[in-house]
Structures are given as C-alpha cells and as structure tokens.
C-alpha cells in the first residue's frame, strides 16, 4: 500500500514544488531526482507485486470520500472559470461541465453510493501501466528539461511559464497512477477528469489563438466522453441491482448485469483514446511543445482510455456491443492508416499512427478473447516505448534542423547520424518484423481470424498503407543528397539520455517480449480466462534470429570493402559537379529535386476524415442499441 501511496502522492507533491521554483539549475536537479524516484518506485511496485494476482487495499482515512467529492466539485468550478475564454460555438463546454457536476453531485448527495470495500488495487496489468507511466513518463519529463530551455530560446515571443508547465506535467503523472490503481470508480472518474484538465492546460501552453482553440476542442471532446463515464456511475449508483461501484466487482459480475455501465464507460475510453469520431482533439494537440505530445501519445492520456477498455474486455467478450466497439477500433485503424499516407508533417504522421494503433487495441479489447487481450496488452507496451522515442526524436530534430516536415529530413543520416539512428529504430519498432508492434499485429491477426473475420480483413488492408508511410519516411532519412554536411551543435545530454534509453528499450522489449509475456501478461490473462496464450518455441527462436540479423547486419558495414569506386547519380544530363544539378536541354542548368508521394489525388484527408466520423458515429449508435441484444 505504501508504494501505491508514494506513486499517487509523490509526483503531486513535487509538482507543487515546481509551481514555485524558477527554471534554474536547482529546479532541474530536483526534476531529475524526482524522475528517478518515480521510475524506481514503479519498478519497486512491479518487483513486489508482480505475479501475486490482484492485491486489494482498503483506504480507511477519515473524510476521504468527502475530500474526493470536494475535489470533483472544485475541479468543475475551475473548469467553469476557464470557460470565460470560450467562443460562441464552444457553448457546449460549460453545459457539459454543469451536467457532469450535476450528475456526480446528485449521485453522491443522494446517499445511495454503495459502500466501497477496497478503494485501491494492484494487479499485473496495472503494474505494466505503472511501469509505462513511471519509466517512459519520467523519461519524457527528464527530456523536457532541456527541450523547454531550447523551446523558449526558439520562441522568444512566448512568455516563459515553465513553472506551471512542470507543475502540470508531474500532476498529470499522479492522476495517471490514480487511474490505474483505483478500484473505486468514483475516484477513478476523479483522476480521469484531472487528466482531461491537465491535457487542456498543456495543449494551451503556447497561448496562441490556435493552441487555445485546440485546447478547448480537447476539453470539449473529453468532457463529452466524461459524460458517458458520469452516466455509467449514475447507472451503477441508482439503477443497477448489484449495487456496487467497485471496478473489480463490475468486471466479475459480467455482461448480463454490467453491460450498460461498461459500454458507457468505454464510450469515455473511446473519447480519451482519440478514436474516430473523437480523433480531432489529438491532432489539434500537436500545437503543444513536443514533450506534451510525447506524454499524451505514449504514456498518459490516450493510454488511460485504452486502459479502461482493456480492463473491461472480459465483460465485452461475446456481446454485440463489444463487437461494435471493436468495429469502431477496426475502422479507425484502417482509415487513419490511409490518412497518414497523405501527411508530410512528422508530428501529424505520428498522431495518425497513434490513433490507428489505439484503434487496433480497442478492436482487440472489444473482441475480448484471451488471445486478443494478450495482443492488446503487448501492443500497449510496445506502442508506448516506440512512440515515446519517435516523438522525442522529432522534437530534437525540429530544434536542430528547424522543421518537422519529413521532406526536410532528407539526408538526416549524414546531417545528424545519431538522431537518424534513433528515428530508424523507432520507425522499425512501429511496423517491421521482428519488432514489438509487428509481433502484436501478428497475434491480433491470428486471433481475429478465429473470432471476427471482418476485423482481420480491416487489419490486412490497414497494414499496407502503414508499410508505405513508414518506409517512405525512412527513405528520406537514409537518402544521401549531394553536398550535405554533418550538422553543427550537439543535442544536449538530457535529451540523449532519454532518447538512448528509449531506443534501447525498443530493442530490448522486442528481444525480451517472451519473458515479459511469461512473467507478466500471461498470468494476468490466465487469472481472467483460466487459459492463456502459449508462445510456440519455434516462432520465438525465429523472431530472435530476425532481430539478431537486424542488429548485426549494420555491423557488417564496418567490414565492407571500401575499395568501391564512386560515381555521380544519373540525371539524364551532364552533372554540374556533385551538386545535384545538371545541364539540361538548351544548356540550362537545372536542379534535380524530389519529393515523396503523398497520394493527394487518390486520398483526401478531409474527405476520409468526414467519412470515418460519419461511419464511426453510426457504429457507436448501433453499439448503444446493441446493449439490449
């Protein structure tokens, strides 16, 4: 219990410190030490509690219930106060806040709230989540130290509000720990709303008009999801015969009793994990400084949405509502994978790929067999590591080359070999055998064929554009244009520490995934389904060989005969020195330039987005109707 309290309270406590400390060397030292302590705390929790099944804790402190209630109301009031900045068309935001606060006040003041035996718990899955939040989340905070220094250096017009930035960053981590450890759904809801609030403030950090509007969009859409959560709690408190608000009870009671509240809460999960039709908030969140994007995408926020949906997978299993929930994920995966092809802004490509991969996780959880659940948990882990790495990599690149456009990364392998390697590892981790994401996709495919062939087909079609947009990005990075030199100015040590550890983590998770599965994921699956996935020895060996090849082949480069003769590229004209220009017809000197294909004429982002929103709204409506089937 102590370690859970530590993880819950320590980040919040130090965040108060950062709210007052000015951004100087002492503050930075405190940030570094706090990151280390949080990471160590999550590892300690894993060592102590892993493999013990679910351990429950009572929280018997006086007036705790009342304190949470006041917290919720204060949160709503604060959000209402923030609404003074809204535009006319954002009228729905205060309305949503008031309805939610009303529902919660009605529930808690009616005196009908069931007694909660165990307010907190820890099981293998919350350990995995805690490790993601504790290690990857703190690495991102660590990275933020030097990133924010450079950020304000690059944007002198912006007011330096780093104190509130680091305050929210660590507060966010506390809330995330709250989400993964709470067994009391009302408290979980409270932490859930704090993550909404935190991301609202972080997205609006640059204080530009665009940032403010996007922050409100994120707030509005997440509140819409939160309304689903509140309705779920209202149902549990007032209408459900089982009369419980304990997460573990809700899962144990199964679909016949609990399907309605579970679907309502999963609706909140869809919004939080930025599934279609809610995706626009995560794309808008790109305006924030890169550590925020990294945090939202890899270890917090969207992972909270995924967490709750995965948690409810056993309830969703074999229900029509679960089937349609899975379909929302499957359609999101296919459509956003295609849209990602049309993007040249690196952060937008990463955002669409996040939404797509979360879609896959939702699809797995909606199907809810033990095989898909196994794939879903592993996807969550692998995605967190690789995506954290990629966002931080793009952040560093942006500060060094002054652009986040993929076209401008041409020649990165010469210009910034270190960052190029980091990006290549991250990208390989996202889509290619034998890295993590592919292992999970493979498991998904095998599981879907047995349970839901439509999802398998969506996955087959969605994987192809994934291959396209990642490889063309890698192509830009590895191409060696004429006249490119090694870039000036080193990346700071803090940034390298975070990037290096995450890159190592991407390779290590791929190498050690059988161990991760055996020690952590399989016992969790077994405790829910009394059966579990068994990895075939042969395939593990093959994956190991493939990984070995991937890691060792670059070494062969050292031994490669250097006696090759070099020629200039073929330009269908006389080359003008080694500059990439050539003398064309009529003796005119022309420069040869090339861009990647974005297939704008085949796929239009706007059109595809509108179609996906319409289709997924229809599926979600059907999902709610199907609850009664």
């Amino acid at each position: 219990m102590n370690i859970i309290l530590f993880l819950l309270l320590f980040p919040a406590a130090v965040s108060l410190l950062f709210a007052v400390l000015p951004p100087n060397g002492f503050r930075n030292a405190v940030v570094r030490i706090s990151c280390l302590l949080i990471a160590a705390g999550s590892v300690y929790a894993a060592v102590v509690f892993n493999g013990h099944g679910a351990t429950f804790f009572k929280a018997e402190y006086p007036h705790l219930e009342q304190m949470f209630f006041f917290g919720e109301m204060a949160l709503s009031l604060f959000l209402l106060y923030k609404c003074i900045g809204i535009k006319r068309h954002e009228w729905y935001i205060p309305v949503l806040i008031i309805i939610q606060a009303g529902i919660m006040a009605y529930c808690e003041l009616s005196g009908a709230v069931p007694e909660v035996g165990h307010a907190f718990y820890i099981d293998n899955f919350s350990i995995i989540m805690a490790l993601i939040i504790g290690i990857i989340g703190s690495l991102i905070c660590f990275y933020a130290i030097s990133y924010m220094r450079d950020y304000h250096h690059h944007h002198p017009e912006m007011k330096n509000r780093q104190r509130s930035f680091f305050f929210i960053l660590f507060f966010f981590l506390s809330a995330m720990f709250g989400v993964v450890f709470s067994n009391n759904l009302i408290w979980l809801y409270f932490f859930w709303e704090i993550t909404t609030l935190s991301s609202f403030i972080l997205i609006g950090y640059p204080k530009t008009e665009e940032a403010i509007r996007n922050a409100y969009k994120a707030l509005g859409l997440n509140l819409l999801g939160g309304l689903g959560f509140a309705c779920g709690i209202l149902y549990l408190v007032k209408f459900c015969p089982a009369h419980t608000i304990e997460l573990s009870q809700v899962i144990a009671l199964g679909p016949t009793v609990m399907l309605i509240p579970v679907i309502l809460i999963c609706f909140a999960g869809l919004a939080k994990s930025a599934q279609m039709p809610f995706s626009s908030w995560l794309l808008g969140a790109m305006v924030a400084p890169t550590p925020v994007s990294a945090l939202l995408h890899s270890s917090t926020m969207v992972k909270a949405g995924i967490f709750i949906i995965i948690k409810f997978a056993p309830v969703l299993h074999n229900t029509w509502a679960g089937y349609f929930l899975a379909l929302v994920g499957g359609v999101t995966f296919l459509m956003t994978s295609i849209i990602a092809v049309t993007q040249s802004n690196a952060k937008r490509v990463l955002a669409y790929s996040t939404i797509a991969n979360l879609g896959l996780i939702v699809a797995c959880a909606g199907v809810g067999t033990y095989e898909t659940l196994w794939a879903a948990v592993l996807l969550t882990v692998f995605h967190a590591v690789s995506k954290g790495l990629l966002f931080l990599g793009v952040g560093s690149i942006e500060h060094k080359i002054g652009s986040r456009d993929i076209e401008d990364m041409n020649g990165l392998i010469v210009n910034r070999p270190g960052l190029a390697m980091v990006m290549l590892i991250g990208i390989l981790g996202m889509f290619l055998a034998p890295f993590g994401m592919l292992i999970s996709k493979w498991a998904c495919l095998e599981a879907f064929v047995n349970s839901n062939i439509v999802l398998a087909v969506l996955l087959a079609f969605g994987s192809a554009p994934t291959l396209f947009f990642w490889t063309k990005w890698m192509g830009k990075i590895v191409s060696v244009p004429a006249g490119v030199q090694k870039g000036e100015g080193a990346v700071s040590k803090d940034e390298w520490t975070a990037l290096g550890l995450l890159a190592a983590g991407t390779i290590a998770t791929a190498a050690l995934f059988p161990l991760l599965s055996r020690v952590s994921v399989e016992p969790y699956i077994f405790s829910l389904y009394q059966q579990t996935v068994e990895l075939t020895q042969g395939n593990i060996i093959i994956m190991a060989i493939l990984l070995g090849l991937m890691v060792l082949l670059p070494l062969s480069f050292l031994a490669y005969p250097k006696k090759s003769q070099y020629a200039q590229r073929y330009l269908a004209g006389a080359n003008v020195g080694d500059t990439g220009s050539f003398t064309g017809a009529m003796g005119i000197t022309r420069e040869a330039t090339m861009r990647n294909y974005y297939l704008g004429e085949l796929f239009s982002e706007k059109k595809l987005f509108v179609i996906s929103v319409a289709v997924t709204i229809a599926i979600i409506a059907t999902m709610f109707l199907a609850v009664k089937l």
């Binding site: 064929v449 087959a460 192809a464 590895v478 590229r569 090339m594």
Partner: protein, 284 residues
C-alpha cells in the same frame, strides 16, 4: 530432417531454378515475339559478368541495404521451406522489400527515387492479398504452418478460388511483369531508365538479380500450396501459372500506379474477402 533438406535445397538450388526460369522466360517471350531469343543459360552469363565487374556506387551506404535485401529474401525462404508460419513468412518478405526500397532511396537520385516510391505503391497494392491468402489457407486447413498446409489432403484451390484469382492478380506485380512493372522493367526503354535499380552497377546489381530469382522461386512455392494435394498437379499448376504470367507480360502495356493500387485493392476485396466471408460463414 526433411525440413533441413528442404532448407538446404532452397538456399543452394533456388538461384539455379530461378535463373533457369528467367532463361526460359526470355526464350518463351522471344518466341511470342517471333524471335529466336538468347540461350537458356543467358541469365547466368549476365550475372557472372556483373559479378566480375568493378563495383561502382553513388555512396557508401547503398550496397549495404542490397545485401540486407538478399539476406532477408533467403531468410524468408528458409522460413517457408522449413514449413514455418505462413504469416511470419509474409512479414519477413516485407522486411526484404523494405531494404530493397531503402537501397534505392539512398543515392537520392530522381530515377531510383521514383522507382522506390512506385515499388512501395506496389507493395501497398499486394500486401493485403498476401495476408488474405495466408488467412484463407488457415481457415481451411486450421494451421498457419506450411508443413501442415502442404500435407492437406484436399485441393485448397477448390476452397479458395477467389483468393487464388486475387493472388494471380498480384503475382503479376510481384514478378515485375507488365502491366504492373512500374518500379523497374526488364525492358530498358522505359521512362524511369531502370527505375529502382538505376543507381546500382556490377556486383550489387548481380545481388539484386539473384535476390529476384530467389523471390520468384518463393512465389512459385506459394502457388504450389494452392495445389499441394497432388504434387504432379501442383507442379503443372506452377508451370501453367508462370507461362500465363509471361503471356500477360507480352500482351499488356504498362498501366499507371493509380490503376495498380485501385484495381488490386478492388480485386482483393471482391475476390479475396468475399471468398473468406463465405468460408467463415460455412464454417459456422
């Protein structure tokens, strides 16, 4: 033991079979065009000559990717011919393809760059069908493993006619035959010079050629699986399929990449997916 023999045969013999196939291809093509054509061993002479030449490259990196391409193509075949997991085989094949494309990106030359983009478009076109084919075989035989599929007693093609049609369609892309020889062409006179291989010369070009031979044999292995209930029928099917591809190569002009992407996805959806849905429905 049998698996080990198959793997050894693949690693050692596949390039010879692939080279012979290429030689026969050239003779049949020549006859279709009322020419005599080169001797059947001509592809070997070509590759040996390339291997003897001095390596010329634009930069120090590009040949590395090509070596990786060959290694992963061989690795893919090892998985396939040892009777391994069919999906994993498809994924390994994609890895090989990605390395080939990176090799073409590396010189930053306009012609090989467009060749690389088109190669990626081709991969995007055929990828769904490969996965659908593997899924179809699993749904009928209840195994992902080649060693189970190959001993399946009933003719797979009877259960998967739609999938087989879709597979034939993308086979034209994979074999780099007209009308889908977008990224590079066997015929030198195309708008992209030699497309994806423009900036490769000498030994590295020979490696690419050998990798393609390996790849073609592997693809014929996939065709074999559809007819594996009877090995005589299967070999006959492989020969007929290859002749059919040569025939298509000689009767069609190159089409655009728009058409390639759209048509292959439509064929995958209409023939492949419908076939899977029917099997899934019958299974229930």
């Amino acid at each position: 033991m049998k698996a080990a023999l198959c793997v050894a045969a693949w690693v050692v013999l596949a390039p010879f079979v692939g080279g012979l196939l290429a030689g026969l291809d050239r003779i049949v093509t020549a006859r279709m065009q009322s020419r005599v054509g080169p001797p059947v061993l001509q592809p070997f002479y070509d590759v040996l000559k390339l291997l003897g030449k001095q390596g010329v490259a634009v930069n120090a990196f590009q040949n590395f990717y090509i070596v990786c391409f060959l290694v992963f193509v061989i690795m893919t075949g090892v998985l396939f011919f040892s009777g391994g997991d069919l999906l994993l085989t498809m994924f390994a094949l994609a890895v090989a393809g990605v390395f080939f494309v990176l090799g073409a990106y590396s010189p930053n030359s306009p012609y090989s760059n467009i060749g690389a983009e088109r190669e990626l478009l081709q991969m995007m076109s055929y990828e769904p069908v490969l996965i659908i084919a593997a899924m179809g075989m699993y749904m009928v035989t209840k195994s992902w493993h080649v060693h189970d599929i190959v001993v399946f007693q009933k003719p797979l093609v009877m259960y998967l006619p739609g999938v087989f049609v879709a597979f034939l369609f993308i086979l034209t892309i994979k074999l780099r035959k007209s009308p889908f020889d977008l990224s590079t062409s066997h015929h030198g006179h195309q708008e992209l010079v030699k497309g994806i291989t423009t900036e490769f010369a000498g030994p590295s070009l020979a490696i690419i050629e050998i990798a393609h031979w390996y790849e073609n044999v592997l693809l014929m292995g996939f065709v074999y699986l559809f007819f594996a209930f009877n090995w005589i029928a299967a070999i006959a099917a492989v020969v007929i399929t290859y002749l059919l591809e040569v025939f298509i190569d000689n009767t069609y002009a190159r089409l655009t990449w728009h058409f390639t992407v759209k048509s292959s996805w439509i064929v995958a959806a209409v023939f492949g997916v419908v076939n899977l849905l029917i099997i899934s429905f019958m299974g229930k």
